[in-house]
Amino acid sequence: MAHGPAKGIGRWLFTTNHKDIGTMYLWFSFAMFLLGGFFAMVIRAELFQPGMQIIRPEFFNQMTTMHGLVMVFGAIMPAFVGLANWLIPMMIGAPDMALPRMNNLSFWILPFAFALLASTLFMEGGAPNFGWTFYAPLSTTYAPSTVNYFIFGVHIMGASSIMGSINIIATVLNMRAPGMTLMKMPMFVWTWLITAFLLIAVMPVLAGAVTMMLMDINFGTSFFDAAGGGDPVLFQHVFWFFGHPEVYIIILPAFGVISHIIPTFSRKPLFGYSSMVYATASIAFLSFIVWAHHMFMVGMPIGGELYFMYATMLIAVPTAAKVFNWVSTMFRGSLTYETPMLFAIAFVILFTIGGFTGLMLAIAPSDVQYHDSYFVVAHFHYVMVAGAVFSGTAAVYYWLPKWCGRMYNETMGKVQFWISFIGFNITFFPQHFLGLAGMPRRYADYALQFSDWNMISSIGAFIYGASQLLFMFNVIRTIKAGTPVSEPKTWEGAEGLEWTVATPAPYHTFSTPPEVK
């Protein structure tokens, strides 16, 4: 048997162990989640009442921008990379990731990227203030000079994501246990394999977009400047060619997690494994050909508008197939409601609601009224928070006993679930109303008719924010003092290789590959 972990800080700095790196990704992502959440609390506090109370509009824009960037690139993406690191080798019976040193590098450049980004808050001119979508020319000609730090930060994050993806693809394609054919891989592995290909395809596009910005700002080019023969709409095409696959990059691994948890607590196999795989692949394919539905108002020719509307509506088919699959898995199962299952069920309900509003947004004529309103804000928080964050939380509760050999407090977990669920809905459901009634997004201040729903939404946000502290407390308490568990299988209905190793999972697992029948 190989050696155990090194001692002291060196263990973390130089580690090439997938479990250590996974742990670091998860803690990093949680730290970013709290930071981005703090920005959200500032936003909701300012919007509690009409009028400017605690911050000024220019700082409000920095908050919305930083909230989006930190949550998407700092919290959600690293969370799922962390889960991938911990779980993929254990799920496919591999001793570690295929490229362990690169694994270390891809994690350790991330804190620097976010330190660069966050440091702009303290610089003259302030942090980026042009939204997480950073449309030119607001992000080029009209940007604060700190935009260069933002660009460098994005480059580093992109490099980290690409390295992570290469590693996942190399691991999944080369290191599966004998007998584990592609169509026997666990769903989480499948969704990550597809996600990794998406990342490799679109991260360079994002890098291209920010590099063109860098050239426009510092070297006199005019990619996005109409006065120099460029085109501001080109920026949006490039950005969303990255940005739309990006939302599936975030949600596909979440689908994977849910496809493990629901069968476990239904004590019944996933209803349609192969159709889930095909649905995931078709969603990934469609994600490349629908980007301009984010741009229905830029004045596209009607042919383009119609094409992007029809193509976007098509996404409903494979997505609906997934939801039907989860529901059929539960049907005639033997259900219990531990915390991970509660989060998974909430995921299905709320993600479906987010899917409905997504379908509404796809309808180009009615998008005239939805576009850039709070309806959109409500929609993507139903998908990103109730989708990605809920499933991430579910995953932590589900695999935490395996990781640390201790059981979390079930009552506290359930309490946290209900506070999160109620707080989330109080925050974001009224935002549908605000948007339909005509409140645009990214508004530092608003007309009086929007006062009441905004106040309710802010109250919900504080409740939801507080519930995350309870989550942190529950996890830390579990690691320090949770009830020890030692059976390999924590959950009665759990299936998969990760549940065949000892609990807590030893530092090195599957030094000799298992046989999969």
């Binding site: 009209y142 192969s274 004045g299 009607i302 409905f356 004529p365 990214r442």
Partner: protein, 382 residues
């Protein structure tokens, strides 16, 4: 039904019912607690509303079906109730059914969506054209062919925004001059921007279109009902994004024609005024008003700007340097920065007053006096 059951039923259905019946609710409450989009006053906004409701109800029905099955199994197939898991999985028939049915529903949705989109795009045979230009952070309306153009800016005072005065009814929804339009006329809007991307959104008209520098987008409205309609900028455009509302005053055709005649006479009068010679006091007084309206958002009321973003004007090279340079930057702006070209936005009188004010306020005691005629000559001379 028992009382409790009825209450539960009402609670569950409340969000759905309120969405559907909001139109009938009392006007004031409906506005404050509005949960649905306005029907609006144009054929397009009505078409949008209809398709929005069709899709909404289809989603409600699907939702009831899917969640119904789910809640049923959550209740009936609990382990604590002694449920034993079945072991079925993979059923090709089921999977074909739940692929084909959504696909058919999508076709049902696509038909009305396509026809609504065609009408959104149908700008042909407009009876008049309005050019709309977005600036940080105001709108310019130009009546093409009528020689009438003006800026429309927020008039809500800072005191209301920063909570030192009570907020009026139309807080953040009132402007210096509304866009005036005739009712029952097909109006085409040509929309562009001078600096960053803005978006011109008036929910009651069913109109939203991005205003993009270097491009001209078009859309249209045929407004049935005279009245006041309010809208907003919908694309993040900097710190004043929430502070550049749209107000449209729709008049009957005859009233509109009378208004347009009066407006043309006003334009001629302002042009005449530019030939007059003003005193320093007159220019300073007018300059303060015009500066606070058009310049203070960036350079601040005290002229100190925002370090690192907007340059200060107290003792700066431009405000106490050569008058020509000062004229140039105000009239032509500075390309590659947020400084706009105000030559086309403001009257000669306002431009002269602002320059005079900037050269003599906040301790910039140059004593320079710039007359409207100087501005005119500068514009013509370049």
């Amino acid at each position: 039904m028992s009382r409790r059951a009825r209450m539960l039923f009402a609670l569950v259905l409340a969000p759905v019912m309120s969405l559907a019946s909001m139109g009938q609710a009392l006007a004031e409450d409906a506005q404050r607690w509005a949960v649905n989009m306005p029907k609006g006053v144009t054929p397009v906004s009505n078409a949008i509303y209809d398709i929005h409701m069709i899709i909404f109800w289809i989603c409600v029905v699907i939702g009831i079906g899917v969640f119904g099955v789910m809640f049923y199994s959550m209740y009936a197939h609990r382990k604590s109730r002694g449920a034993v898991a079945a072991n079925f999985h993979e059923n090709t028939t089921a999977e074909i059914v739940w692929t084909v049915i959504p696909a058919l529903l999508l076709i049902v949705m696509a038909i009305p969506a396509t026809s609504a989109l065609l009408s959104v795009y149908d700008t042909a045979e407009a009876e008049m054209d309005i050019k709309i230009t977005g600036y940080q952070w105001k709108w310019q309306y130009e009546y093409l062919g009528e020689d009438v153009a003006y800026m429309s800016e927020l008039t809500t005072p800072e005191e209301e925004i920063y909570n030192t005065a009570p907020k009026s009814q139309y807080y953040l929804q009132e402007v210096s001059q509304a866009l005036v339009l005739p009712a029952k006329t097909k109006v085409r809007f040509l929309i562009t921007a001078k600096d960053v991307i803005h978006s011109w959104w008036v929910p009651d008209l069913g109109v939203k279109k991005d205003a993009i520098p270097g491009l001209v987008n078009e859309t249209w409205a045929y407004i049935e009902e005279p009245g006041i309609y309010r809208g907003e900028c919908a694309e993040l455009c900097g710190k004043g994004h929430a502070f550049m509302p749209i107000v449209i005053n729709v008049l009957e055709k005859e009233e509109y024609n009378a208004w347009l005649g009066k407006k043309k006479a006003e334009v001629a009068a302002v042009r005449e005024l530019a030939k007059k010679t003003f005193t320093l006091d007159e220019l300073m007084a007018q300059g303060e008003i015009a500066y606070n309206r058009s310049c203070a958002a960036c350079h601040q009321i005290n002229g100190e700007g925002i370090p690192g973003v907007f340059p200060g004007m107290v003792g700066s090279a431009i405000t106490v340097g050569d008058v020509k340079g000062h004229l140039d930057i105000v009239v032509n702006g500075k390309s590659g920065t947020a400084m706009q070209a105000f030559g086309g936005q403001l009257s000669e009188v306002d431009l002269a007053a602002i320059i005079t004010y900037e050269r003599n306020a906040w301790g910039n005691a140059t004593g320079d006096l710039v007359q409207p005629i100087d501005v005119l000559k500068f514009k013509q001379g370049q």
